[in-house]
Symmetry: C2
Subunit: 264 residues, 2 copies
């Protein structure tokens, strides 16, 4: 089954557009959890076990695993194994390189780690990302307009009456179908979200920037009008509490978001 | 000592502007080398031992290690340890993400693995890469104009009478000094190389695209006119032969390039 269909199916089954970002940071771990990669594995396991009925996907940002080197990649392998098959696994690495190198990245993400989706950086052009799309049952999310202030530096530049992020979207939608191609659009950019949503009616949008980063969820959902979307929340859920009973707060926060993110 | 100075020092000592890219691929390993990560470690060790007097740097592209997961990161850790301290170690990962995430990537590259330099993707703007520059004795190479055909898709777009790669260069040189900031410019773009070299007179340029990718080394050196530069060659050196005595060919190829890349 294509990931595109798997995603629609689990969104319906769990009645949720919510993705939880599993981005561990040692100094933010709650009481009672060891401050090392063993502790993080236990932490990730508790979160997955207690939230898996309320999400459509988990997104793992590679940076937070790479900071521990080979131990971190071991943790990444083990965390991926804990995620039930029916739930979509997103590798958030924002990769992109010349073709032969992207091929190695794609193998790493889809074959070695077994992810369903990858986030990709389009700066080096369509050919640089093609090896990811050659895994044709997978779904890739290309960065369009990100949630950080620096998105204004380049992504929002105007070029011949269009924004740079619009050129990115055009170039990639010209080359790949909606089953293979989604875009990352930060929730902090409401205007840009609106113009992108009008442009790519059927493609999935992966939306970070809700929670700690301050994006307005209600407004994004209103603009989106039930089109294909995944809303990611990381820190605001997983670090909801530093107390020993943190998992209760994690469930509470998960339900808080999920209640706003039901499919119907 | 700042990496900027370390680089000038080793270029002088080894009389070489050559960087060798250690980008292992199982199917290209020579006869007599095991086709697994143990074999690659032996392969890398042989290459480093036999070329370390003729190079200023080694560049390790993370993709070729990540494809083996935690075993690959273990291999990366062990390979970095084999490189003598006086030689510059470049982490080629083309990273870039929102600030808190880039901080984790920077920690991974500079603290965990102990690299001197990183290659960075500027698409998400200056704030997205600032955490790398906070390690202020390190030298970061920001992608300006890459060696693949897709560089035309976005990097060579014209915006208000300038090329997009020129905007990237201006934005980053406005924010960081030459001691901290270099750029990646593919050897396959002679015209762009010329315009960039005129713009950033003192910053280091890291130049891939020589060898297998077809860039013209003599022409690049002529345009460069003895300014700060590192020329990277990967496949054309490390996979010079599939025979059992491959290391002789590796040395031969290394000397072939190094003889064109002397400092004086």
């Amino acid at each position: 089954m294509k990931v595109f269909e798997k995603l629609l199916e689990i969104q319906k089954k769990n009645n949720s557009l919510l993705c939880i970002g599993l981005d561990p940071q040692l100094e933010k771990l709650p009481e009672g959890i060891q401050r090392n990669t063993f502790g993080i594995l236990e932490f990730n396991k508790l979160i997955i076990e207690n939230t898996k009925k309320f999400v459509c996907a988990y997104k793992l940002n590679f940076a937070f695993y790479e900071q521990f080197g080979s131990e971190g990649f071991d943790l990444l392998e083990k965390t991926v194994e804990l995620i039930p098959n029916e739930i979509v696994k997103i590798a958030d690495g924002k990769r992109g390189d010349i073709g032969s190198t992207s091929q190695a990245y794609a193998k790493s993400i889809f074959q070695h780690f077994g992810f369903d989706c990858a986030t990709l950086n389009p700066l080096m052009g369509v050919d640089s990302l093609t090896p990811f799309f050659e895994f044709d049952d997978k779904l890739n999310f290309v960065l369009a307009c990100t949630s950080n202030p620096g998105a204004s530096d380049f992504q929002k530049l105007r070029i011949d009456n269009r924004f740079f992020y619009e050129l990115i979207i055009e170039k990639f939608t010209d080359n790949f179908t909606k089953e293979q191609l989604g875009f990352v659009v930060g929730a902090t950019n409401e205007l840009e979200f609106q113009s992108i949503r009008e442009k790519v009616v059927d493609n999935f949008l992966l939306v970070p920037g809700i929670g700690t980063q301050g994006g307005n969820l209600a407004r994004i959902l209103e603009i989106n009008r039930n089109r294909n979307i995944i809303i990611n929340v990381s820190r605001d859920i997983i670090f909801a509490s530093k107390e020993k009973n943190f998992i209760e707060k994690v469930i509470e926060k998960t339900l808080y978001y999920r209640n706003q993110l039901q499919v119907v």
